[in-house]
Symmetry: C2
Subunit: 343 residues, 2 copies
């Protein structure tokens, strides 16, 4: 079957950085679904895995952690899906990615695709939705009842650093559904407009001093901060802006040591979010990713959440995948880029 | 009125390190209660404030953050208490401590004293109970319904590092009431026995490698870790022993940089606990300390929680306060030391 992969860590301008390859079609066992892939999205993690390292692989590594498609076969332990189901999912970091005609994924990581969305719009959602949902409602412990979204305005405020990116665009919408006031950071006119379209109440510029920017809004401190970019640069601002007893989460690692002691007096809480953690460690609550994706599909179908798709390329091949990687590498991506269909 | 204080940061062996002094009796205004102090406890924070620094003070600084006594007057905004009420509380870091015959404290930081306990047993409880309760149920987010304590055994495990100390002895009991399996660390025969008496299911030795100690119990990792001593030394053990998605809280600061990145893959959560934070910043939820102390008093009166009093000195004067400080400085303290009554 057709797949796209790499054997050497090369610059994206090199045609060999991502190549069309033929690999054998796998078969579903246990909790696995075999999914005929219809569309995939590209995320910063794809770029990071492709670029990072020096080794040569004998067999191509297949990237891709955002897919939508149709279940064509199921393992003997599967109970949540059946052949013919339309699904969407992000998958596991320990297994081949979804940039292939058919793909195996554990049913506990999969949701039924939102019926009202186009194929491309579906593919844009899983990884960022899982990350945003887990970050807000599991790691930051923001109270949220999916049965009563948008029901009431609470008195709390969140600062989302880089609110116009893939995760930020969903986090902004979800935080609004939970009743929070959302301050989103963005810098360019188009990213400011994008984050406002996705529900940001207030916008600050992360290229300026965030403390001054937030204070200029008449806001002294915030209950929650979600860091989606450059934790090192923003750490001091985060510690100044977080309320006593407030919660901080980050999806980006620090490279320099960060001074955690800045949070002692405020009894601050800091949490990492890594969407792959549950599948990586096969945790007891791994099936929560199924539940989250079902909730996300429901919110999308009810029009309470918007797909963050911003660009679609066709068809799924190495040329278009390289183009999508380039878009991500330029760090100016707004929303999500999806590649749809096979030749 | 009689009080005990210091003007210079001196070794505890120096008779001037804590001196009997006379200060003017304050009067209650606003949300303040004027409390006739009956007994006080001494905590590591008293020692730390007394020892740390070099400046000479013109007026004596009064320590003490654990008191029980009788309300003798109330400010005009007080609604929770009236003169004659028996109370217990830890108070604020921003105001004079409770080592004085009369003491002012904001009613929102105060609970009605548990009726069934002796005066000394009451004085032993507030600071450690507030710390343990906030750490477990606010910072570690352990589910707990005070109306249904001890109702069912859950499937979760907590490691309490230094379980036989003041906070550890309460945290062990509260974690048991929430249904957790408690692994407590202790090292000496008497501290091992003490922590078992307070409900520890399993005991490990924090002078050995905690990872090996916990694994030797047949336990691979734990859902929660509460660090009550030497975060620097135990950080790597904590990161190895915490479950993916697990929660860590600490009441002791790190002196060396700690490597937070060890928790990214596990999407770990880290929280500081500082009991004074709410009163220090006068947070909107400051009154939660009143609620917690009311809950603690109820659990004590129902026999579900035991006072951790281990030693009582009489009366409250500089000599006995110096002795209590010495006990804490020796780092072999089990439970709490209380000083009761005036000459």
């Amino acid at each position: 079957m057709h797949a796209i992969g790499f054997t050497d860590h090369l610059p994206i301008e090199d045609p060999a950085s991502l190549r069309d390859v033929t690999i054998s079609k796998p078969s579903a066992q246990g909790h696995d679904l075999l999914v005929q892939v219809q569309a995939v999205a590209v995320n910063p993690v794809d770029v990071s895995v492709r670029k990072t390292g020096h080794e040569h692989r004998m067999r191509p590594k297949i990237l891709g952690w955002d897919a939508t498609g149709i279940v064509t076969a199921v393992g003997e332990a599967v109970t949540l899906f059946q052949p013919g189901d339309h699904v969407f999912y992000a998958g596991s970091f320990r297994r081949p990615g979804c940039d292939s005609a058919y793909h195996l994924v554990d049913e506990r990581l999969v949701g039924h695709a939102p019926a009202t969305l186009t194929t491309a719009a579906r593919a844009a959602m899983p990884l960022t939705s899982l990350t945003a949902y887990e970050a807000l409602f599991e790691q930051l412990h923001i109270p949220f009842d999916p049965a009563k979204p948008n029901s009431e305005k609470c008195n709390q405020t969140i600062l989302i650093i880089n609110g116009a990116g893939g995760v930020g665009s969903i986090a902004t919408q979800l935080a609004k559904l939970a009743g929070l006031t959302v301050i989103s950071s963005a810098s360019r006119p188009e990213s400011i407009a994008w984050t406002q379209q996705h529900g940001a109440d207030l916008v600050v510029n992360h290229h300026h001093d965030l403390v001054s920017e937030v204070h200029a809004l008449g806001i002294k401190d915030v209950d929650y901060i979600l860091g989606l970019s450059d934790l090192d640069s923003h750490w001091n601002e985060i510690c100044t802006l977080i309320k006593p007893g407030g919660h901080i989460a980050s999806i980006t690692e620090n490279r320099r040591p960060i001074d955690l002691k800045k949070l002692t007096k405020k009894r601050g809480t800091f949490a990492w979010e890594w969407m792959y953690s549950k599948s990586y460690y096969h945790t007891a609550d791994m099936i929560s990713q199924h539940d989250i994706l079902e909730t996300i599909a429901d919110l999308l179908d009810r029009g309470l959440l918007q797909s963050t798709l911003s660009q679609t390329l066709r068809p799924i091949n190495a040329l278009n995948l390289r183009q999508a990687h380039q878009l991500i590498e330029q760090h100016h991506m707004i929303g999500k880029v999806v590649i749809e269909g096979w030749e």
